[in-house]
Each structure stands twice: as C-alpha cells, then as structure tokens.
C-alpha cells in the first residue's frame, strides 16, 4: 500500500506569531499516522497580495484563511482566487466571532469556519473534512446560520423557497451542530446515516452561499453577535 500524499495546507494570517503557532500545531497533530491523510503546511502568507500569489503558485489543497486582515481580509482573498482555482478549498479561521464577517467569508466561498481557540487535533480533523468536500460548521457558525435563516416578524419575504428556507431536517442538523454534536452523534440522534448528515450540511452551506434572501445581507451588515 502506498502512503497517500499529505494534504497541503496554506496559512493566511497577518500575525506571524499565530501562523507559526498553527504551523507547529498542524505538524504535531497532523503527522500522526493512522487517523487519515497526514497534513503538511506548504506555505504561508501575511497579506492578501501574498496569499493570492502563493495560492496560485503552490496550489494547496486547503487554505486556512484569517477573516480579519488589512486590505479586505479573507473575503478579498477568496474573491481573487476562488474562480481561478476552484479546486482549492478554503476554511476560515478567526478570532473575530462577528457574525457579519464570518457570513461574508462563507458567502465568498469558504467551506467552513472554526474559531482560533480550536485544538490542534480538531483543526487537523476539520482540514481533513473540508478537503474531502464536507463543510465544517463550528457550533458558532451553525448558530450564525440558524440566526440568518430564522423566520421572524419583520423578516423579508422569501424569494426562492428552494434557496431561502431551510428544511426541517436541515434545521435539526444545524441545531445539533450548534449544540456541539459531531456528525456521527447527529446521525445516531436523528436516526440517519453520517452520509445524510453531510448531505444536509452541504445543502445548508450552499443555501448560505447562494441565497439572496434579504435577511441574510441585512442581518450580516447590522448585527454583531459575540
């Protein structure tokens, strides 16, 4: 059996100290064999410009993207690279916790969002998951998305029900994600397979990215949840 290639990760963060910390964590937790493909850091960037150049040059598998950076932040990096290299998967990593920033990066194309306080082991796990195409909903992101799709008095009209509403099942999955459940635990809780949980999560992510619902944009601009 041949050793699978390690997942190439590219770090984008304007704090060098944080980059070196993540790099150390990833290499410590990501080189352990057995759990899945190993993870190796192939490059890093401290600014939007460096990131765009580096991603184009190195073609990493996964980009860990800081939400808050000078010159437009993670969303700007996504706008400049996502169409050119659709195979590169982006995972937002931030201390921000401000809903509008997180939602903006997700809508720009990131496949997930985790907070910077995540442990090295969980981070490696999240990298593996996004690399295989699964979205990564940290509890906080699940909460933001639930909030964004909430039906409340004063909410704008639903334009396209296919995109603008969550199905009851998707809502259940999101609630459990917000409660800190892992995919496997959600599966056994709802009596569905892990694969189905992943499908629901992907569909929620797609709706978050594509829905033009009035609420999503308005909510994102005038609300800051901490």
């Amino acid at each position: 059996m041949t050793e699978p290639e390690p997942i190439g990760v590219f770090l984008v963060d304007d704090h060098a100290l944080f980059r070196s910390g993540v790099r150390a964590e990833l290499e410590r937790a990501g080189s352990a064999a057995g759990a899945g493909r190993t993870v190796s850091v192939v490059g890093e960037a401290g600014s939007v410009r460096e990131a765009v150049a580096g991603i184009g040059h190195l073609r990493p598998d996964v980009v860990l993207l800081d939400v808050h950076m000078p010159d437009g932040g993670g969303a700007e990096v996504l706008r400049k690279t996502h169409t050119d290299w659709p195979d590169v998967v982006f995972l937002a990593l931030s201390v921000s916790d401000a809903a509008e920033d997180v939602i903006a990066v997700i809508r720009a194309g990131a496949r997930g969002y985790v907070t910077k306080t995540i442990s090295g082991h969980e981070l490696v796990d999240a990298v593996r998951r996004v690399q295989t195409g699964d979205p990564v909903f940290s509890p906080r992101l699940a909460g933001f998305v639930l909030d964004a799709f909430a039906q409340r008095p004063g909410t704008g009209a639903v334009g396209d029900p296919e995109l603008d509403l969550l199905t009851p099942r998707e809502r259940d999955v999101l609630r459990l994600l917000a409660r800190g459940y892992a995919y496997k635990e959600i599966g056994s809780e709802l009596f569905i397979s892990v694969k189905t949980v992943e499908t629901h999560a992907s569909s929620v992510l797609r709706k978050t990215q594509l829905s033009n619902r009035y609420e999503l944009s308005r909510w994102a601009s005038d609300r800051r949840l901490v």
Binding site: P139, G143, L146, R152, P153, A178, R179, L225, V226
Partner: protein, 404 residues
C-alpha cells in the same frame, strides 16, 4: 528650523537681527536693513529692536562667527537706523505716524499668523511666498488688485484728509478702507490658519483616543500578560487568565456598549445572550474551563428569564465540577413561544438514579428553579457518555418577539 531667539555668536548689538534671520531663513543683511528702514518711521525699528531684545530668550545660535565685512555693514546700518530715527523725530511725527501705525498692525498680524502656523506650514509658505499673494489664477489677481486698490485709496483719502485739515470722517473712512484692503489681501492666510487649527484639533482628538486605548490595554492585557509570566508552570491558571482576558477584551471591543460599536444605546436593557455569556464567563473564571456559548435569536433578559439564566449557570457549574472535561458547550435558542438552552459536556456522565439525596445542585438549583417558574428540565446522561441538560422556559407574551 531655528527657534526665534537672540544669538550669542555673530552678533553686533544684541543678536536680535541674526536670530530673526536664522528663524526666517533669510540673509541677516535684509533683516538689518528692514530694522534700519523702520527706524526711519518715527523710530519704530529702534522700538521693535528694543522690544525683541527684551523679550527673546538668549540662545547659542547656529555658531557662525561674524566676519568683519558683515560686522562693518551691521554697524553702518545701525548708525543709519539711529540717524533716520533721529531725523524723523526732528522733522516731526505727523507724516510718518500714518504709515507706521498700519504697517505696525500688519506686521504684528503677520507675526501672529507666523507663530500659529506649524513647521510644515511655514515651510510651504516660505517656498511659495509669492504664490500666497499672487498665485491662484484670475481670482487671486483680482483679489490682490482689489486689496491693493483699497490700501491705496485709503492712503490717498487719508492724505487728502490731512491736507484738508483732517476731518474725522475722512480719517475713519481711510482707516476702514485700509483695513478691508489688508483683510482681502490676507484671506488665504487666514483660511490656512483656520485649516491648520482644525487639523490640530483633530490630531488632539486622535491623541486622546489613542491614549484611551493604550490605557485600557495597559490595565487589562499587559497586566494579564504579566500575571501569566509569573506563573508559567500552572497551565490551568494560565488558561484561566487567558480566557478571562479574551472575554474582557472581546466585550470591550464588540460588546453592546463596546468600543467597536457606534450609535448603540448605552442604556439598552441587557439581552439574554449577554446574560448567558456573563454566566458562562463567571464559570470559566472560577473553574478554569472553556465554555462555548452560542445563542440564536435574542430577547431581553427580564425577570421571567432570570431563573433560566441561573439554572443554566448551575448546569455549567455542574459540568465544570463533575464532568472532568475542559470544554462545555452551551446552546440557547430563542423562539417566539419559548427559550431552550442546552448545556452539554462530553465528560464522564453519571447515572441519575444513583445520585445521593444529599446532592442538591441538580434537584434544587435546576429542577426546582425551573419548575417553580413554569419551565421544564430534561436530562440525558449515562456513565461515560457525557451529559446534556436541556432547559425549556416558556416566554411570557408569545408572539411579541422583537424583530432583530
């Protein structure tokens, strides 16, 4: 640029002229000539020299020794000035005073503007001294012509008045015309002065702001970092300090009355999300665990919600004390009819039936409190499987959910 001062090196009388020349960046000869010329106007130059001598501080100057030629020239000019002053007083002051007074006023005004301007402003003025008066296209030319015309008219009328035995109205008119002329001529100077003052005010506001941020960071972050350095071996303590500091900084930056918010009502009633975050934070501080709180929707943290907040806090405390894990998830969802809170850990779990009767935390603080207030509790746990406490509290007036 050299400060305005009297200099010791290179001086002939008291060093005033050299000091002024160094300050303005012009040849000292010009300054001396101006003093001499002014001395001819009723001795104004002598007076000005004397005043500057009295009021300017003495300084070392740029250190160039006087060369003999300069020295001779200076003495000559000084003598000339004194002579002119004597001559003008001998001839009577009537013809020179009307020049001296407005000229003196204009010079004092210019000096005031000069002193108010800052360094870069002066640099600009000096390099573009011509442009100040003559630059700026047709409008500026018109302005200069109008100003000059008014000055000339004022002077002429005044002279006329002198000849016609000095009528008071003529005199007033002349002074007025001269003043208006001077004002028109110096409009750009005043505009720039005002702009400079506005910039200075903005800079001061920025400085205050920066000082406030620095003070806050000093009081909070630096203190915490110092504490962390003192106990690097206790990872539990370090984590507790770091979490506490993070929470404090976050609420300072993004909180409802936080620094990063604008236009928020500072007196707004606390929201449920804040109350839950505060409860989670307290437990984090006391038990050195990390509590991840996610709140969907929000409502005022009023009387009806306070049992829920307290029960939630108790549930988090239980998890922190007994579960044996360092991470606890709290999820709250506000719906029109009810508020649901989940407190979950992946810790050791327990057998609810095996809990001794002497343990009141769950029974009294959570069950009792919730049920007394119309809420309910669901518990899901078993040994090794972690614990999840579900708290449900109906909302008093269903349907009155604020749009958020």
């Amino acid at each position: 640029m050299q400060r305005l001062q009297r200099v010791r090196s290179g001086r002939v009388v008291a060093g005033v002229a050299v000091g002024v020349a160094e300050h303005l960046g012009v040849p000292v000869l010009w300054v001396r000539a101006v003093f001499a010329a002014l001395a001819g106007l009723g001795g104004a130059g002598v007076l000005a020299y004397g005043l500057l001598w009295a009021f300017l501080p003495e300084g070392p100057g740029s250190g160039q020794p006087p060369n003999p030629k300069d020295h001779q020239q200076a003495l000559g000019l000084a003598a000339l000035g004194v002579g002119l002053a004597l001559a003008s007083t001998a001839l009577g002051t009537s013809w020179s005073s009307w020049i001296t007074a407005p000229l003196g006023v204009a010079l004092v005004g210019a000096a005031v503007v000069w002193r108010e301007a800052d360094e870069t402003q002066r640099q600009r003025w000096r390099s573009g001294a011509g442009a100040v008066v003559f630059g700026g296209g047709r409008i500026a030319v018109l302005r200069v012509l109008a100003g000059a015309g008014l000055v000339v008219a004022g002077t002429a009328i005044f002279l006329l008045g002198q000849i016609n035995l000095g009528q008071v109205q003529f005199g007033l008119l002349a002074v007025l015309a001269t003043l208006v002329g001077v004002a028109v001529l110096t409009v750009p100077w005043w505009l720039r002065l005002m702009r400079a003052l506005g910039e200075e005010r903005r800079a001061r506001i920025r400085t205050t702001e920066r000082a406030e941020i620095a003070a806050h960071l000093h009081d909070s972050v630096l203190q915490t970092l110092a504490l962390i350095q003192q106990q690097p071996d206790s990872s539990r303590e370090v984590r507790r300090l770091a979490r506490g500091q993070e929470r404090q900084l976050r609420s300072w930056l993004y909180g409802p009355q936080g620094y990063g918010r604008t236009g928020r009502d500072a007196a707004a009633p606390p929201q449920l999300s804040e109350a839950l975050s505060a409860a989670a934070g307290e437990v984090e501080d006391i038990y050195a665990v990390s509590v991840q709180a996610v709140v969907v929707g929000d409502c005022p943290a009023d009387e009806a919600m306070s049992p829920l907040v307290q029960a939630t806090r108790e549930a988090i405390v239980n998890a922190a004390k007994h579960a044996g894990v360092s991470e606890i998830s709290v999820y709250a969802e506000v719906e029109p009819a009810q508020v649901t809170v989940f407190v979950r850990d992946r810790g050791s779990g327990f057998d609810p039936d095996a809990v001794g009767d002497d343990r009141h935390g769950l029974a009294d603080s959570i069950h009792g409190r919730m049920e007394r207030n119309g809420g309910s509790v669901r518990l899901r746990t078993s040994p090794g499987e972690g614990t999840e406490v579900q708290l449900i509290m109906p909302r008093p007036k269903p349907g009155e959910d604020e749009p958020s």
